[in-house]
């Protein structure tokens, strides 16, 4: 469905070239949910914005292919992209508090999404908007549609966002940390909603998150991203049980487990490297507990360990 090949997105800042996304390969099947996991600054959001072709200046996609149903999005003009956004790929953002325009009614914003892609009478698109709000389980949608964003709770705003994003039945929904800003109970509701809508509308989802709980909850496959590269990808079970890459291990180790008591959670030492001068060889080697000399010299390739389980580490067999 979506096939991203050796995508490179660089940001040409005054300090130098930031290699935010540096050769990423991703594939998402129909109705599949792929979780893209990584620390802040690992390039997850830049990957998402690249797929939307919404990289802010001075960033630029320098290389790669983004195939959506076989068509390369990178060859499209801006006007064609505007048309594709919303109707084929849609995106929802992290903070529902600021993602709705404060001066318009919730219903209007959903109807705007609809009328952008379809010639409809105002009353007709309003009706469709109310249906969408109903679908995302906003109680009493016909009345709530007349509310302004500040009258809605965080969960309801995120539901409105989802309604907007899905109103034209896109093939792919990119969700950039859709639950991070919400209460835990509301998070669960939103995830449940996304799962249900995926089944109903047959939408594929690219879920960007650093919350591994969310990943376990909803994703089919997971790609772990570090410093602009995918370091491991596999189906959810493999990632949680048979992960190979030390970074994946570190991420999972930093997660508290119910039922086992630990004095300190393990953390990964250091922080995400400066992407203007990324470390030589394996980019994780300065923080990796198992790093040997080769790690700083040659870059490990992404190798297929088992069916669909890709790892980029020199010592993957050990």
């Amino acid at each position: 469905m979506l096939d991203v090949r050796s995508l490179k997105t660089h940001v040409f800042s005054s300090r130098g070239v930031v290699r935010a996304v540096d050769g990423v390969n991703l594939a998402i099947g129909v109705e599949e949910t792929l979780g893209l996991v990584g620390e802040t600054g690992s390039g997850k959001s830049m990957t998402a914005l690249s797929i939307m072709r919404m990289i802010p200046y001075p960033g630029r996609i320098v290389e790669g292919k983004i195939l959506l149903e076989g068509e390369d999005l990178l060859t499209k003009t801006q006007a064609q992209m505007t048309n594709i956004r919303g109707s084929k790929i849609s995106m929802i953002f992290q903070d529902p508090m600021t993602s709705l325009n404060p001066v318009f009614k919730a219903g209007y914003q959903v109807s705007e999404a609809i009328s952008t892609h379809q010639q409809l009478a105002t009353s007709e698109s309003w009706k469709r908007a109310v249906e969408m709000l109903n679908l995302v389980r906003i109680p009493d949608a016909p009345t709530r549609a007349h509310d302004y964003p500040h009258q809605l709770s965080g969960g309801m705003r995120q539901r409105t966002m989802i309604a907007m994003a899905l109103s034209c039945r896109p093939k792919l929904l990119i969700a950039d940390e859709p639950t991070t800003a919400l209460d835990v109970t509301v998070q669960a509701q939103i995830l449940e909603l996304m799962r249900e809508l995926r089944r109903r509308a047959g939408t594929s989802i690219l879920l960007i998150t650093h919350n591994l709980g969310v990943v376990a909850e909803i994703c089919d496959r997971v790609a772990v991203m570090y410093a602009g590269k995918i370091v491991e990808s596999a189906d959810v079970k493999t990632i949680f049980r048979k992960h190979k890459h030390p970074y994946t291990k570190g991420l999972l180790g930093a997660l508290p487990k119910i039922g086992s008591y630990k004095e300190n959670l393990e953390s990964i030492l250091g922080s995400v490297p400066d992407m203007i001068n990324p470390p030589s060889g394996c980019r994780f080697h300065p923080r990796c507990p198992h790093a040997k000399e080769t790690c700083s010299l040659t870059e490990p390739r992404l190798v297929e360990l088992e069916q669909e389980h890709m790892v980029a580490c020199h010592f993957v067999r050990d």
Binding site: R85, G86, F93, T98, S99, N101, P102, V103, E112, A113
Partner: protein
């Protein structure tokens, strides 16, 4: 401010024609017949003030409105599109701003020929950059908001984003700025009138009346004093209104 507006609206109801000449009342003192006295031509100062309010309000409103529309559009486009377009638009605005407003307005009016209409055109021109700057600054803030990104992500085109998402969210500060510029516009109108570049006699206009009254300052100070007072009050009123609006729009003070 409210008094000035009300006066302007109700001006046709005043007792006497502002241009009616009563030679027997030349420079008359304040009496029942002329409650604020009469000028050199025996015209009623009060009537001229009241009708002058109308001229002033029309000039101030029209110039600021037109400037606000043009300024908002150009500023929003400059801020949204950025880079080259931004540079061209804003440097043009800077050129206009680099002259003192009143000097440029005078030069423009003089070049176009002294008349009320030409003074309105030049006041509009010198007001545009002030509005455009605010609009651009606000656009830069608003365009980074998530809802603008979200609108782009559902395929809303640039023109709709500017008109539906950016401009409505910029209107607060622009309104404040425009109100403050009403005061400036009133002062500039009066100044141009005073210098003989604005409203031409016998149009009742405060600045022009003030200039004429100046000549009889010794014999009849009221002829000059009242138009001056009117200009002062109107400008002060709009300044206070602008400040008040700024306070109301300040989110920290709201709710």
């Amino acid at each position: 401010m409210a008094v000035v507006t009300a006066t302007a609206v109700l001006s046709p109801l005043t007792p006497s024609d502002p241009n009616a000449i009563h030679l027997e009342d030349q420079l008359a003192l304040m009496t029942i017949k002329h409650i604020l006295g009469a000028d050199f031509h025996g015209r009623d100062v009060f009537s001229r003030l009241v009708h002058g309010a109308r001229v002033t309000m029309v000039v101030a409103t029209v110039t600021v409105m037109v400037a606000a529309v043009i300024g908002t559009l150009t500023g929003a486009i400059a801020g949204y599109v950025g880079r080259k377009v931004d540079a061209i638009i804003m440097r043009t605005m800077d050129i206009i701003l680099s002259f003192p407003a009143i000097v440029l307005a005078m030069a423009l009016t003089a070049a176009l020929g002294p008349s009320l209409q030409n003074s309105m055109i030049s006041i509009t021109v010198v007001t545009i950059p002030a509005i455009a700057r605010v609009a651009r600054g606000q656009t830069l803030v608003v365009k980074e908001m998530d809802y603008v990104q979200a609108a782009r992500a559902i395929g809303v085109d640039d023109a709709s984003i500017i008109f539906r998402h950016i401009i409505p969210n910029c209107l607060g500060p622009i309104t404040v700025q425009a109100t403050l510029y009403m005061a400036v516009s009133i002062l500039t109108t009066a100044s141009l009138g005073f210098l003989g570049l604005g409203a031409q006699p016998p149009t009742p206009e405060w600045g022009a009346d003030l200039a004429e009254g100046m000549r009889y300052m010794r014999e009849a100070p009221w002829v000059a004093a009242f138009p001056g007072l009117a200009i002062f009050t109107a400008a002060l009123g709009f300044n206070l209104l602008g400040d008040g609006l700024a306070d109301i729009m300040n989110p920290r003070l709201r709710e």
